[in-house]
């Protein structure tokens, strides 16, 4: 640790620290313009020059490493002269258009000029009159305001890896431009805007509507995906004008297009603005009290007539932890049933079940930051930049900057492919087979971690027997990869000292999801990649609070905190002062069957849109229509609200307090930035009001009441305080002990399973294989209410390989009907080399397509045929 003096103050710097950082540590201010902590120094502005005794030239402190015995001076006449001269050169042709500049009030030139006391510039130069680059979506570049500090270029290249921006031309004409052509090939994360010290890169969506000093910033988290990035909502007069971010956060202030630009969905004009009640077949606005009374009385009547188990509830991963807790308490304590479930049934619960049987970890086993230092990453069945961009960027960074070996296995090309050492284009549905194949090779080559397996795992022998039985040939046939490819992937993964597995939607949402996750865990166990730093398993699901939803016990199997009634009944009955239901409870398929038989008479939906998000939505719609009472609370009208009997307007993420849990199991505070719009209410409060109307209040008068009760009933929340979860929150990982004998006393257990091959029915009538995923710029269906994001991706589409399109004689952009054995939709075609021939890919974000109607229960893969829209179908 080098010791140096800066302005005669003794400073001990860390190894490799720059003078600028060391000075910051000692509280000594050195002016900077181009310096940006997130990137390598570009040392272009020269304003941070300092004098070092013994060195003739002034040195730029941002890139000069502090060395032992240095004597640095930051405020000598010479240094002051340099600062002044640099600022004068900067001001020389920088238009002083501060009154109309988007950066006014937070412009670093403005602040530095003021702080250094520079009164104008005597350097005569005409201002630049370059045309403003205004044709990019969302972001605008004004070359006349640019000081070519390169922050935007560097952050785009070094942090995001999009490398969309580049310095073009030379000398005085050097300006920022796009990498190639005129189009901005970019992730639209807006990092360049955040990084820009001036108004050169600006956010088009705020221009001239609000000034920086008029807006109040509320720190909160982005609810759109499960990365839970921290951000700041900027509000003026009760309206959100933009999103900014703070560099001192767990996401280093990095946001994606959704976080940065998706905020406008909050103010979308379709927001539900009144409770609605169905009268004479139409939904009519009513007062809250009327709605509460209606729902309460009908629920009470149905419970009285058919028992509490005739009522069922569906919640959403968009709700906060408090909403979820209130939801399950409402059902368990007020109604008296375990009939609660959510879309996690078709996704994340499979992961949890598989993890529970094998490892006991619920969710990721490490943090996002840990990924940077992992030696190999297997990214399978997910394009992380589409589901959780924050994680995708970390993986990119790991591969690019830290030389991690990236293996990408997917049925289509992902945005990580260019950074991967191994790309395996596998057949849809075959992720599990690939894992088995890799394990078989690892075992054959004796590259498995014998010590770890012996000491920590059970069921290794059955696993080995299974692998011995499987033929490699069959695996190659089913996965469609070459033997060399599989072998190399296995070698890279097994030989890495620390390896991680990231998997997502494609793995989780398939019918074989459970088995598939098990096999991926088996692979991690075989190579000993658990309980190791920077190694682990990262199951990813797109929607914001999926982990919180599960943690809160919104499922029949578990009480909050994965507690079972057998052991935790006492706690809950004491706190809730009521009996817990003894019946098992219905899952979504059971609820559907119950509705069809009439056993379930009432359904209460909170925040969810099952008709868009659940597979086989056709059958579900028919079932829900049979319900005597369908209550939906949501922020937007949806296919589900349209058939509801009563609709309650809920408050959006910006309008309520609460907590959410991201994929790392980081519990963070969501803060209210604006009052609830119109008459809307936070979801927990709506449930409380309904309970009160039913005559048995849950005792929640403030959101902190809900949280306080959570700390009493959920062991992993013990000791947490609502207020202290501000900032980066707390990572709390539950570890679930499996039932008797499952892991045979060991910490972990293999789960030797094979997957069934996808049934190959209807091959001729439906020649293409369709998978559903999401668009890079959308998150669930909620973001399709954001005009900003719609500008990047306006409507649903069908990605098809040009080769197939040619054979079908369908032109790029033409509308086609996509038909599966159970449903159909119409969408424009998009040529894409990213999907292999024989496959089509559809983002499931757009409710009007109703993509899930095409899937049979439990899967997101099906066979389809495409016909040009309007053409007569001759079968």
């Amino acid at each position: 640790m080098p010791m140096l003096t800066i302005d005669d103050i003794d400073v001990t710097a860390d190894e490799g620290m720059t003078i600028l950082e060391a000075a910051g540590k000692a509280g000594i201010w050195i002016p900077t313009l181009c310096y940006y902590p997130k990137t390598s120094p570009s040392d272009s502005c020269r304003v941070c020059a300092v004098e070092i005794e013994g060195i003739g030239r002034p040195m730029t402190s941002c890139n000069t490493i502090a060395a032992e015995g240095m004597r640095v001076h930051t405020d000598t006449p010479r240094v002051r002269a340099i600062r002044e001269e640099v600022m004068k050169l900067v001001l020389m042709d920088h238009p002083l258009d501060c009154p109309i500049c988007p950066a006014a009030g937070e412009c670093e030139i403005q602040n530095l000029t003021y702080r250094l006391g520079i009164h104008g510039t005597d350097l005569p130069l005409e201002r630049r009159t370059d045309p403003i680059v205004g044709h990019w979506p969302l972001i605008e570049y004004n070359p006349n305001l640019c000081i070519t500090c390169l922050r935007c270029v560097k952050v785009c290249h070094e942090v995001i890896g999009a490398s969309a921006l580049a310095l073009k031309d030379v000398g005085y004409n050097a300006r920022i431009g796009t990498r190639e052509g005129d189009t901005l090939w970019c992730d639209f994360c807006g990092e360049c805007v955040e990084a820009c010290p001036t108004g050169a890169m600006s956010n088009k969506t705020v221009k001239r509507w609000a000034r920086s000093w008029e807006m109040t910033k509320t720190p909160t988290i982005c609810p759109l995906c499960s990365a839970g990035c921290r951000m700041e909502i900027n509000v003026k007069d009760g309206r959100i004008f933009r999103i900014t971010s703070n560099i001192d956060t767990h996401n280093s202030g990095t946001l994606c297009a959704g976080g940065r630009f998706g905020y406008d969905l909050v103010h979308h004009e379709e927001r539900l603005d009144s409770p609605l009640l169905r009268r004479n077949g139409r939904l009519e606005p009513v007062f809250w009290e009327v709605g509460f009374t209606y729902v309460a009385e009908n629920l009470k009547r149905i419970v009285k007539e058919s028992g509490p188990d005739s009522v069922a509830g569906l919640a959403s991963p968009r709700l906060t932890n408090e909403d979820c807790y209130a939801f399950q308490k409402f059902f368990r304590a007020v109604i008296g049933t375990n009939n609660i479930d959510s879309e996690a049934r078709f996704s994340y619960l499979r992961v949890q079940r598989a993890m529970e049987l094998t490892t006991g970890h619920m969710g990721t086993t490490g943090s996002l930051e840990d990924l940077l230092d992992t030696d190999a990453v297997l990214v399978i069945g997910i394009d992380p930049l589409e589901e959780t961009p924050a994680l995708g960027w970390k993986v990119k960074l790991a591969a690019r900057r830290y030389d991690s070996n990236l293996i990408v296995a997917n049925s289509r090309e992902t945005s990580l492919d260019p950074f991967a050492r191994m790309r395996l284009r596998i057949r849809p549905y075959s992720e599990s087979e690939l894992a088995l194949g890799m394990m078989k090779i690892i075992l054959d080559l004796d590259l498995w971690d014998g010590k770890f397996v012996r000491n920590n795992t059970a069921n290794f022998l059955p696993m080995k027997n299974l692998l011995d039985k499987i033929s490699l040939k069959g695996i190659l046939r089913r996965t469609g990869v070459t033997e060399e490819g599989l072998r190399e992937a296995a070698l890279i993964f097994a030989q890495a000292p620390r390896a991680s597995i990231i998997f997502g939607g494609d793995v989780i949402q398939q019918e074989n999801g459970l088995q598939c996750v098990m096999n991926l865990v088996n692979l991690a166990l075989l190579t000993g990649n658990l309980d190791r730093d920077n190694a682990g398993i990262y199951p990813i699901f797109e929607k914001g609070n999926i982990l919180g939803l599960c943690d809160m016990g919104v499922m029949p199997e578990y009480l909050p905190g994965y507690q079972v009634a057998a052991s935790a009944r006492g706690t809950f009955e004491r706190v809730w002062k009521t009996d817990l239901p003894y019946t098992k409870g219905r899952t979504v398929p059971d609820i559907v069957r119950g509705l069809e038989t009439g056993d379930v008479r009432a359904v209460y939906v909170a925040g969810a849109d099952p008709l868009t998000d659940y597979p086989n939505a056709g059958r579900l719609a028919a079932a829900l229509e049979k319900a005597e009472l369908l209550v939906v609370q949501d922020i937007f009208p949806s296919p589900t609200t349209r058939i509801a009997h009563c609709v309650f307007p809920a408050a959006s993420f910006a309008e309520k307090d609460g907590t959410m849990t991201n994929i790392e199991h980081r519990i963070q505070r969501l803060n209210q930035a604006i009052p609830p719009l119109g008459p809307s209410m936070p979801d927990w409060n709506i449930l409380e009001q309904v309970s009160a109307a039913m005559g048995s209040s849950m005792g929640f008068f403030d959101v902190s009441d809900v949280f306080r009760e959570m700390t009493l009933t959920i062991p992993m929340y013990k000791g947490l305080k609502f207020q202290t979860l501000q900032g980066d929150g707390r990572i709390v990982r539950p570890f679930v002990e499996a039932g008797e004998g499952v892991r045979r006393g060991r910490r972990y257990s293999f789960a030797p399973v094979r997957t069934m091959e996808a049934p190959e029915k209807n091959r001729d009538a439906f020649p293409l294989e369709m998978t559903a995923g999401r668009s890079m710029y959308h998150f669930g269906s909620i973001s399709t209410r954001s005009r900003n994001l719609l500008g990047l991706c306006p409507e649903g589409y069908v990605e098809i390989n040009p080769q197939d399109a040619d054979a079908l004689d369908i032109g790029d952009g033409e509308r086609v009907e996509v038909r599966s054995p159970v449903g159909s939709f119409v969408a424009p075609v998009k040529y894409s080399g990213r999907v292999s021939p024989g496959m089509v890919y559809v983002p499931a974000n757009f409710p009007e397509l109703g993509v899930y109607r095409l899937f049979e229960e439990n899967t997101t893969v099906c066979r389809v045929k495409l016909t040009r829209y309007g053409e007569v179908d001759r079968v």
Partner: protein, 598 residues
């Protein structure tokens, strides 16, 4: 030098870019035709050599064994040369070189001042070998140094020898080559690379081009030796794409060397592997900076990066890398063969060996010259360069390329070595010498070089990007008559700021032309600013275009040459200029022998 002993005579025909441009290929064809016609093709051989250096006088033919030097040879002279020289043994008087001062013809090359005072180490093979024939290079001790290094010396001994020689980088920095190699050899991180910087960007400089075109093997050999010394097995030559002939000859040379086992695996049975690839550059001046050059080879935007780490530690692809320029590598072979002490015996205390200069501008013998360090500027300009043409006066010499400095009249006794040049505000640079006579405006010159730097700055650092632009605007104001009191002080302050705070060599020296012209020609600046007059009559806005009656000899030259009929003149009348017609083209001024127009 003789590929076949049966020839009795050789025509060494210069095939450098300069002579090719003035038609040496046609001359060769004519000579060949003539020889065939007279059935002499088995007696006389024509050899296309690399650049001879005396480019102003091309096309050049040197006839051996006599050593007779013919210049400005045209195809129609072919019969004459063959008839007179080959058959009759008589020197062709009219094609001989005439010393500008003496006016007498000098038949032998060695007697010509331009050649006689040079000492050839780097250019040892110039005009003597066929650049595309490896055998001729080998015949002139080529690859003997590589053999000696690989078979008789350890890498440490090679480095020791180079250190002993005192050789300093010829690219401009002047860093001791031996120390550079030693540092690079010290890092235990493989692979390592050695790079030859052939990105010659200074206007008017073409010594590296000449070596690459005329003696490509000397570069390859020097690189191979450096590779052996530092432990590199791969070399890159970064050549500007504007030098197609250099690229072509280097590629031929590399192919030949590989065939002879002088490049590739197990060179000369020593077990040492070394190969070279060419990386063509796109001609950005800043790519001559070592780190920018390495980025360029990696396929990135050529922009200087922060040091440390120095390239010796983490250069190309973050691996230890040695980078020398073409001329430096060409010095290695003689150093290894003759020893470091021999090399150190040439030159001055701090600067050893020789330096190649590209002599251009207002000098009679324009061309490439190699002189021992410590030669005076005066000797360079007047003895070798043959003085200033048209009886004009020497005014200044700009040394060190666009960011060098000017050495004024009265200081021409300065010895040319790194320290002395630095002492007078110039620098060695890559060795461009632009000689200026009294018809040169120093403010305009400063403006010209600043304009170059504005164009070639990469645009990263504020002082260089913005400051140079301000400087250029200010200088433009001055030469166009908008100069104001205090402008000179302003330029000085800004210039010092730019030089003091920029990151790379370009920025650090970009203000030199301005600062040094102010230092030595302050009066010219003042004349421009206060009197609104350009003393050298170069800046059109600051010329009155008035005839000085007492100086006018009424010769009418101005009248005859004026392209826009602006001169009113009759025989035995003083000329007058009609300013309404005058386009300020300065033709009259350039034609007036009496300085009668101001």
């Amino acid at each position: 030098m003789c590929a076949s002993p049966s020839y009795r005579m050789h025509f060494m025909m210069c095939a450098g870019t300069g002579c090719l441009a003035s038609g040496s290929a046609d001359v060769r064809a004519a000579l060949e035709k003539e020889l065939v016609k007279r059935n002499l093709q088995d007696e006389v051989q024509i050899v296309m050599t690399g650049c001879n250096g005396f480019c102003a006088m091309g096309p050049l033919v040197v006839v051996y064994p006599d050593g007779v030097f013919y210049n400005q040879v045209k195809p129609e002279h072919a019969p004459l040369i063959v008839e007179e020289h080959v058959l009759k043994g008589r020197v062709v008087e009219k094609l001989l070189f005439k010393e500008p001062a003496a006016k007498s013809a000098v038949p032998l090359m060695k007697d010509i001042g331009f050649f006689g005072l040079q000492r050839l180490i780097v250019l040892r093979n110039r005009g003597l070998i066929d650049a595309e024939n490896i055998d001729e290079y080998i015949a002139r001790d080529g690859y003997a140094a590589l053999g000696k290094a690989l078979l008789e010396m350890t890498p440490e001994e090679v480095i020791e020898e180079v250190k002993k020689s005192g050789l300093r980088g010829r690219g401009g920095g002047g860093f001791p080559t031996g120390l550079k190699w030693e540092e690079c050899a010290r890092y235990d991180n493989f692979p390592k690379y050695t790079i030859c910087n052939g990105d010659e960007g200074d206007p008017g400089a073409f010594m590296d081009r000449s070596v690459m075109e005329g003696d490509p093997h000397s570069v390859l050999e020097g690189m191979a030796i450096s590779g052996y010394a530092i432990g590199a097995h791969q070399g890159y030559i970064y050549v500007r794409a504007e030098y197609p002939l250099a690229i072509q000859r280097l590629e031929k040379a590399m192919a030949d060397a590989r065939e002879y086992g002088l490049l590739g695996k197990d060179i000369l049975g020593s077990g040492f592997d070394f190969d070279i690839a060419i990386a063509p550059g796109a001609g950005a001046f800043v790519c001559g900076e070592s780190t920018a050059l390495m980025f360029s080879i990696e396929g990135k935007r050529g922009m200087p990066r922060i040091k440390p780490p120095r390239s010796a530690e983490a250069g190309l692809w973050n691996q230890p890398t040695n980078l020398n320029n073409v001329e430096t590598f060409a010095n290695i072979n003689p150093i290894i063969l003759n020893g470091g002490d021999w090399f150190a015996s040439i030159g001055t205390e701090g600067s050893k060996g020789t330096k190649v200069f590209a002599l251009t501008g207002a000098v009679n013998n324009v061309g490439l010259v190699e002189v021992p360090m410590g030669t005076s500027l005066k000797s360079l300009i007047f003895d070798i360069g043959g003085g200033i043409p048209k009886k004009r006066k020497f005014k200044a010499a700009q040394i060190g390329g666009p960011s060098g400095g000017c050495i004024p009249n009265g200081m021409e006794d300065v010895e040319i070595d790194y320290e002395s040049l630095y002492g007078v505000g110039a620098m060695m640079g890559s060795g461009g010498v632009v000689v200026m006579d009294d018809h040169t405006c120093m403010v305009d010159t400063a403006r010209f070089f600043t304009d170059f730097s504005v164009e070639e700055s990469c645009g990263k650092c504020t002082p260089c990007r913005e400051g140079l632009k301000v400087m250029l605007d200010k200088l433009t104001d001055i030469v166009e008559g908008r100069g104001r009191e205090g402008d000179v002080e302003f330029l000085q302050e800004l210039g010092r700021h730019i030089n003091g705070t920029s990151h790379c060599g370009l920025g650090k020296s970009a203000a030199n032309p301005v600062l040094s012209t102010i230092r030595y020609f302050r009066d010219e600046y003042d004349a421009h600013i206060h009197e609104k007059h350009c003393p050298a009559l170069v800046c059109p806005e600051l010329i009155d275009f008035v005839v000085i009656e007492e100086k006018c000899k009424m010769c009418g030259l101005c009248y005859r040459n004026c392209p826009s009929d602006a001169i009113i003149w009759e025989k035995k009348q003083v000329a007058r200029i009609d300013l309404s017609k005058c386009t300020k083209c300065r033709t009259c001024i350039m034609n007036c022998k009496f300085g009668a127009i101001r």
